[in-house]
Symmetry: C2
Subunit: 335 residues, 2 copies
DNA sequence: TGGCGAAAACGAAACGTTTCGTTATTAAAA
DNA sequence: TTTTAATAACGAAACGTTTCGTTTTCGCCA
């Protein structure tokens, strides 16, 4: 049906080898160049990627694996990753594992069975050993958002500690002394980092931490909702709350709406990730914004450099600065 | 490096053909079955999909093409499509075209160059002829969300007319007489349908339409913002507004917040698509919810049935029911 | 025991490329 | 003109499968 390189060779009178050479950027006499171009146009020749892949052992495809396709933080990163990859001739197979470690393994296998040349992923955290095996097979892996100590691969993430530190600092300088935090699940990298920033800010400003105000959710809407309620039910509730990801911020806002709590008079709130949220919630929500575009692009570029063997160095941790938007949702107790 | 079918053959003492037959579900003596299984396990044999694809001319991959990966309505559908496909041994390559018709073409080409067996897409609307060519090549295409008259392929969409009709009807029976609508871009399928429902409801209830209250946006946040402002600046502003997609609903809410307009006292609002939005906006937002899960699954199943040649019939239009949630954002003028 | 037929196994070609080692062509140098 | 060196083109093998037509095996019945 479709024209093959053989047809192009026949049309031009050249050998298959020459045509192949030209297609792959090799030097060819000017007149042959013209001739081949003509043949390709006339015959509507398209290279057969499967045949090529069979020979080269490369699929020119990267795997992208994220916890959820319904989380705009991740999909927005994916969009940017894809764009860079595409510009460099790579396509991507996108999968989500629905926050399920079992599925994470499966989809990882799946990607490998599709012979992806490299992988960009947001790891769940409980499959370190398995992922390390993949790395050892020689498949470049780049982590996004989360870092696993026992996997030796590049990683791109937001500067969580400072992000969190800055947010808490702003609350403290505005006179807040009882600050609640809704963290992610324990043992997850970002949870630990964001909590670290919270603690450090308290230490630096010599503000005591009430352990009752440090709660752990699951990074999902429902747990944000539940944890906010729990915080408000503490005997002496906090005057401000910091929620450490987008979904939980959603949940927290829902809970606040339901309880008819006034922001910022009854509670100050700083959320995470989604800049649009800031303008939808009323009064406008203060928020820590991660640089999704930069994260995605950085990860893609690192993967590409590994794929081209430009970068053979040992894995690096790349931290990208976040932005803190303080809006109306934060009350100041100072004059 | 990796074991091939040849190695398996050698290990078992059988021929390549026999091993291949077994791998593909053919009958083999029980003892050989056991033997091959052992070999596969010991050698860690994985089939080379490129070699297989070269022979079979099938990649077991579907292309998914959507306007934006940053729109949760689409990504949520993608997630569900992927799940069904994966269960049936198909992987998917997901692309977005960033609402850009040129890019739509490019990415379509890209998917085809990747030799996808079929395509599920949300068409932009301006590349009908081009897509029709793809269909004529014999590549099954399934449209989601939008229907293009001059492309002969299956399509899965929400019952937009009734969705819109029901929303407007609820406003009318609550006593609203001046109802604004923020439509999508002209000439887009969903725009027309949603507008049709608006008109029909007015007709059925004998309410006049003021053309000044019918505005067209671009289905993006910014245009929702702008159009809401424009509606409120009409000399005699509407008492209710229906916004016809998620992004524009976001924009509309932002504008309302900025202008400090009170919902529902000064304006009643019905939005679209995202059920979470309902609970985040205060007072809680009324909303038309599309069945994302069902849409995705239906589309995937249709594609699969085409790929297996189970379904050779002519293209069908599948309409799925939407849900209307009336919350606090709608005021009633009737006691 | 010999012959038969079904079931299982086999051999080899083919899919469309890339690539390596070799040969042909060309232009400049001798 | 002949030689040389560089450049371009070529032929053929190989990548790991599937598949088709053929051969082998084996149990069963006459």
């Amino acid at each position: 049906m479709a024209a093959t390189i053989k047809d192009v060779a026949k049309y031009t009178g050249l050998s298959i080898a020459t045509v192949s050479k030209y297609i792959n950027g090799g030097r060819v006499l000017e007149k042959n160049k013209v001739l081949i171009d003509e043949a390709i146009r006339v015959l509507d020749f398209k290279i057969n990627e499967m045949a090529r892949g069979l020979k080269t052992n490369r699929s020119m495809t990267a795997g992208i694996l994220i916890p959820s396709l319904e989380n705009i933080f991740f999909t927005s990163i994916v969009s940017n990753v894809e764009n860079i990859l595409l510009q460099n001739g790579y396509s991507s197979i996108v999968c989500d594992y629905r926050e399920n470690p079992e599925l994470e393994k499966e989809k990882l296998d799946f990607l490998i069975s599709k012979m992806v040349d490299g992988i960009i992923m947001v790891p769940h955290g409980s499959n370190s050993a398995y992922i390390q095996q993949v790395v050892e097979k020689g498949i470049p892996v780049v982590f996004i958002d989360r870092h696993l100590k026992d996997v030796h691969c590049d990683v791109v993430l937001a500067d969580n500690i400072n992000a969190s530190y800055d947010a808490i600092e702003q609350l403290i300088v505005r006179g807040h002394k009882r600050i609640g935090i809704i963290c992610g699940p324990k043992n997850i990298f970002t949870t630990e980092e964001r909590l670290k920033g919270y603690i450090r800010a308290h230490e630096d400003y010599a503000v005591d931490i009430d352990k009752k105000l440090v709660l752990f959710g699951n990074y999902d809407v429902e747990s944000g909702y539940r944890m906010l309620n729990r915080l408000m039910d503490v005997k002496k509730p906090p005057t401000a709350i910091f929620v450490t990801n987008y979904e939980m911020t959603l949940g927290a806002v829902m809970a606040i709406n339901e309880r008819n709590i006034k922001i910022p008079d009854q509670i100050s709130l700083i959320g995470f990730d989604n800049i649009q949220l800031a303008r939808i919630v009323k009064p406008s929500l203060s928020i820590v914004v991660q640089p999704m575009k930069e994260i995605g692009e950085k990860a893609a570029k690192i993967l590409l450099s590994r794929l081209n063997k430009e970068n053979q160095g040992s894995p690096a941790v790349n931290r990208l600065k976040t932005e803190l938007l303080i809006k109306e949702s934060v009350k100041s107790f100072i004059d």
